[in-house]
Amino acid sequence: MYFGFVGALLILLVRIQLAIPVCGAGVTTNCWPSATQTFLSAAAFNQAVTLHGLIMILWFLSPLAIGLANYFLPLQIGAADLALPRVNAFGYWLWLFGGVVATLGFFMPGGNTAGGWTAYAPLSSSGFSPGPGPTLAFAGLIMLATSITVGSVNILLTVAVHRGPGMTWRKVPMFSWFMVFTILAMLFSFPSLLAALVLLMADRVMGTMFYAASAGGSILWDDLFWFFGHPEVYVVLLPAFGLIAEIFPVFTGRPLAEKNIILICTGAIVIPLSYMVWSHHMFLTGVTLSEDEAFSVATILISLPFDVITLAFIKTLTKSSIRLTAPMLFCIGSVFLFIIGGITGVFLSSFVLDVVYNNTYFIVGHFHYVMVGAAIFGLIAGLYYYIPKMTGKMYHEGMANWHFIVSFIGFNILYFPMFFLYDMPRRIYTYQPLPSWDLFNLISTIGAFIFALAQILLLANIIWTLRGGKIAPPNPWGATTPEWVPIITGASHGAVAATGALGDEGGEHHAHHQSSKPIILSTGIAVSFLGLALLIYSWGLAIFVLGLAIDAFAIIGWMNDDMHERFAMPKELSETWPFSAIDKMRLGMWMFLSTDVILFGAILGAYIYIRSFTPNWPIPGSIHEVPLGLANTIVLLTSGLTAYLALESIKEGKQRNMIMWLGATFALGATFLAVKGAEWYNLYFGKDFSWSTSLAGSTYYFTVGLHAAHVTVGLILMVYLIRKGMMGGYTKENHVGVENFALYWAFVDIVWVFVFPLFYLL
């Protein structure tokens, strides 16, 4: 909510700025005196639009949906809580501090990042956006992307293994289904963003040159970014659709039309279509005509399932008796605005029309119809729908109706004129007077204020409800989904609140269920990023080290808690459900690894891409010691074998053998790292081959370094496993920790099998 407020404030400043043009061409009234005497300076304007985009999409829209999911998804499927409460809390704090870190950028010398929320490289690299502000913003984004990956694994796990007795997949309510699809759209897209950002951070902080020096570096960013960016649209949209699918049947008094077909269509949208259309953001970047055509067809295909879903929603309005209460009004508004947003989206699938529409207010209008119109209206509908459940009180219906009417009118006054501004480039801080632009910009600004003021009604309504609302019956709408069944309420409310994930709404805290480690860990990460951004000052390093120290403290604390079982789920919560914990952890590990595959895939893809664009790549064998690398490969692969043997030992219940094999794995892993270190020392000081001297250096140090970081994490895990093993923490029946480690270690080995030939042999 707070981030929503900041984002809105930023854009109101922008709309004031754009309400009137700059004086010139005979116009002398109602205009800014000159291009340097406008309401916002060009630099301030660019920062405002950039952070507006980032905050609204990543720190407001998605979290609002995830917040609702945190609360209601467990209730809907009869789970006591999300599968991994501490991981959930970790994700929440990471998200929150990420937002704080990103907004801190405003207070840094030189200001915050100003290259648009798309942060196109090389504009976003340190050569063109110097200073700690942008670094902080990207650090905040990295934290956010990590938070999302962590959180999405958690929600998926909950639905997969924590469904209550009798809750078969066929019975899972629509909102939960849509959240699953949302998560699937997050799961593979955010690692791509993470990869893009980590490369950018390396460029900014360490002086590598992924984006700065490579021909085609800009295209590399575009590809990585939009592979995330387009699925992100559905991440924002689908929770709102889930709420509509939940609310429509309740207020029309009939079942949702074509329920299964809606689910199939949504599935098709997420996988594979949402991952196949990113290049339609890049029609003008110089890709070939046949690529344009292919992505244009893929994009137009995605409108077919949306067409079916929208029509099914509308069909639910036939043969019905519609109660036009606030949740229903906002749902109808959402579908209506989505029709407009969807149709204009078809326009944008045309790579020829895009020549004119690209980066103009037509696009701005289109995606606000989808992401504000369809998504926010749907989410507000969900908010009104669930207020009786969350607060136990009824909101003020009259005020809510006015909220809808003013919002809907204000929204259209704000965004519809943008379609007529189809030849006005976006992100320009001011413009010359032009009859066709002046009027629509002014109307749009007026609409922006109406829309913003309307939201005060929502705020007032929530306050009114909390202070003087009538007590709501347990199921005021006559809904049939499980979250309204009062009997589960008591137990689960506490469980949900304890994760802290509801922010404003969370109230109670249950001590048995809480751990301070996640918040400390994320604080540490935030502090160390702050230090990284401030490395230009001598004390920046101190802050960085302090952050790392806090992290170390938190990780050790987290592990100790586990070893002494200080953090324990109450028995009745953890053991009621049919699936055992082993399945859950293993599944979680697989999901985590699948996102890691995307991360490495993106980075190796970037490497191959950069090589294909760079002439004069060093000849294989001229830089790296192939025999030494080969020996090290054998060391690592052997450690894979010993890790496997450790797992086999504990499967047979031989604890001593397991510890022995784990020790061997540790020794081999440490040897691998030591050889690596020696190799780097030799390269850096002996051969003057550094990460900032050539692209070959940048890619080598980065990719191999990332792999080494994985090896290091493996070593830390092994310390934990060996300690717990010595305390007799693993038995024949309970050895999921070892099994997960073996899986992780196998993954680390396999990555090296790809990295070694790519960097040493080819």
């Binding site: 074509e258 077909i261 309005l317 020549v355 480039p425």
Partner: protein, 222 residues
Amino acid sequence: MLYPAQLTVTPPTVTIWTTLSNYYVFFGTAAGVIVGAFMIYNIVKNRARPGREAPAFHHEEGDWGNWKGVVLTLCITGSVLAFVEYQTFASANLIAIPSDPNALHINVVGRQFSWSFTYPNGYTNFSNLTVPANQIVILNITSADVTHGLYIPALDVAKDAQPGLYTQMWFNATQTGTSTIECRQLCGVGHALMLSKLVVVAPSAYQQWYSSLPAAPPKGGA
């Protein structure tokens, strides 16, 4: 002035774009109005009100609903979409570079925050793009620093300028006059003011101007 007053002869790129856009606007508006009207009609007709009995709903359709209806709507929407997509493919010559031996090739470099235009004889101008009317002009575009976007609103043509890569764009200005060249990719603080002028002159005037250019290309500038 951002645009020439009135075009009497429409440039081919504008014709292609406008024709295509008309198809989309027609079908888009039609679809929006039909679906929107159907939705409002049902809401008004079925709203709960005193004296109206809720229709008894028989769950005869089940969770799969009327799948034949879905297939039908898919066919209708699909054929409309296929039609407009076909029109897009047919309009690809807005983007495809024509092979014309008489075309005038000009190299364009975008940099923070201006455009420069280099002619075949090596002459570089840092503010104006002067071209003859009624001749195909092919721009080879690149950037000296960050990504820029070259956009000529009056001609409905645009292409990004990428550092280290060349992109191509063509147009044929059919009428003399002046117009604006804009940057459409956020490229830094000067983005909004990164404007140049397109000057279209008669072919004879162009020849005269071109032959009067200094033999040695001026270095630096801007």
